[in-house]
């Protein structure tokens, strides 16, 4: 091995090839290794319990709202099924909330002192992102499938591709926010307490239990600045063919998602050395 290195050192090009080959091989090894370890346990808790806990939260919120609505004897704000309306709101919103929280935790784990030098913090970010996307999708399939079996035919989306696009965009938005958070929390540790509280405000402002297009025009204008709201509406368009599209700008949320993701990546790369030296 060392002999080959010495032979390669003569020409610059082959040396570079070898270096890139080495880097790629490292990635190919590190990714599955981190993936298996993370899926075995999530921060010390057992796998099933950790993921179940995050999957149950949206269900619980939807259920409580449904009970509240029926006690107040109010109908679904749109469509026939109250549970479906709340479900189509709660899933994209919680996908954003949990993704933005998860990433914050996983970069913290990727700190210099608690990893091998060939693991990069971003390995942990992407492995956790993939795992989270997988469990969220499984949860969504179970929920909407269950609703269909309970006799709500609309629970199978009219346009599955649109639903998928909407969720992917919201996921990217959460990923960007999570990357940004992961940097902020290392500079400002109190953010760890602050952000989970702030991000749950998204439940109130993203059209979970009302149709934004039916709000008065002066209020509606302010709501329209919230990118997550457009994500929720986008997701609902997949289920309801005639869902009011007064406040549904898909390009707006896409633009937010891509800018935030790029910003998060740049911020992480730009502060990496500084933060590692600080820790």
């Amino acid at each position: 091995m060392a002999g080959a290195a010495a032979a390669n050192a003569g020409t610059n090009a082959s040396g570079d090839d070898r270096r890139w080959g080495l880097a790629l091989r490292n990635q190919l090894n590190v990714f599955p290794a981190v993936f298996f370890r993370e899926s075995e346990s999530r921060q010390g808790r057992s796998f099933a319990l950790g993921y179940l806990a995050s999957g149950i939260e949206p269900l619980l919120v939807a259920l409580v709202l449904a009970i509240l609505f029926s006690v107040l004897s109010r109908n679904a704000p749109y469509g026939r099924s109250l549970m479906l309306f709340l479900g189509t709101g709660v899933f994209p919103i919680y996908l954003f909330i949990h993704t933005s929280l998860r990433m914050r935790q996983s970069v913290g784990l990727g700190k210099r002192r608690v990893r091998y030098p060939l693991e990069r913090p971003l390995d942990h970010v992407f492995v956790n992102a993939v795992l989270h996307l997988m469990t969220s999708s499984a949860m969504a399939v179970l929920f909407f499938g269950g609703l269909y079996l309970l006799g709500v035919p609309e629970a199978l989306p009219e346009k599955p591709l649109v639903a998928f696009e909407a969720l992917l965009t919201v996921f990217l938005l959460g990923l960007g926010m999570g990357l940004t958070n992961s940097v902020i929390v290392r500079i400002l540790p109190i953010w760890d307490v602050f952000w989970p509280v702030v991000v749950r405000l998204a439940l109130h402002f993203s059209g979970l239990f009302y149709v934004v297009a039916f709000l008065p025009p002066n209020v509606r204008g302010w709501f329209a600045y919230n990118p997550l709201l457009h994500g929720t509406n986008w997701f609902r368009h997949a289920f309801y063919p005639f869902y009011p599209d007064l406040v549904s700008n898909e390009n707006y949320v896409l633009m937010w998602a891509f800018s935030l993701f790029t910003f998060g990546l740049l911020l992480e790369a730009g502060t990496r050395n500084f933060l590692e030296a600080k820790e």
Partner: protein
């Protein structure tokens, strides 16, 4: 071959350790890294192992360089020894079973490897980490001060480490930092000497020791304010109090 190109490094308080170093360190020989107290030996070992990034310049590793032997940071203490060994083996592209069997044989830990790592003593974890370092296939192994833990609670472990060291030196490079000339003489055949924030390579370890000892009263050794002879007798224990407090 590890190539240092225009390498400069400073502590965060701005005190420079290396300035503008250009050097090729061979990775097919046993290299001693000789430096006096506070000359930056451990820092250089961390830089070579990829544990931190230099302030300026480039470290070109064309080969797989190990983490500093005995490194604890890769372990998840909530996971079992087996899970941790399997993870390291996967990440470094080695056969999991082979690495696991190697570590188990060398450390004589059988049942203990199935328990969470936090149930093991620190001494045992350090021993485990050394065994793991030797078990993984690297082209160059880096050591901070010592090739195996002294006073480990695994019986006869230091001698086993020496045997593994000899075995690995047949087809890999080894880099050991030390300020003890006899360690360099015992383990190495060439050396890099840290002198006045620069690195000098010597093809023959005896030339290096001669140069190292002649520059014993170098300004960087005098800055710590202690006479240097006093701590030569302590061997290397004082550099790593947490690891070798036996």
């Amino acid at each position: 071959m590890i190539k240092l190109r225009r390498l400069s490094h400073a502590y965060r308080n701005g005190v420079p350790i290396f300035s503008d170093v250009n050097l090729d360190i061979p990775t097919d020989r046993r290299v001693a890294l000789l430096g006096h107290k506070n000359s930056g030996k451990s820092t250089l070992i961390s830089l070579l192992g990829g544990m931190m990034q230099p302030t300026f310049g480039r470290i070109d590793r064309r080969v797989r360089v190990s983490f500093p032997a005995g490194y604890q940071g890769g372990f998840r203490l909530s996971h079992t020894g087996r899970q941790n060994i399997f993870f390291a083996a996967r990440a470094y592209g080695a056969n999991e079973r082979e690495v696991f069997d190697f570590v188990r044989t060398v450390t004589d830990l059988n049942g203990a490897l199935e328990k969470p790592m936090r149930d093991l003593s620190l001494q045992t974890r350090i021993g485990l980490s050394y065994a793991l370092t030797y078990a993984l296939p690297f082209d160059a192994y880096v050591f901070d001060n010592i090739v195996g833990p002294v006073g480990s609670d695994i019986p006869d472990f230091f001698h086993r480490c020496r045997a593994m060291f000899e075995a690995r030196s047949r087809d890999s490079g080894l880099i050991i930092s030390t300020r003890n000339a006899s360690v360099a003489e015992q383990y190495c055949d060439c050396a890099v000497v840290i002198h006045e924030r620069n690195l000098l390579f010597f093809d023959n370890v005896y030339d290096a020791i001669w140069y190292f000892e002649r520059n014993g009263a170098a300004p960087d050794a005098a800055t710590d304010g202690f006479p240097d002879q006093a701590d030569e007798d302590f061997d290397e224990d004082r550099d790593e109090p947490s690891e070798f407090a036996s």
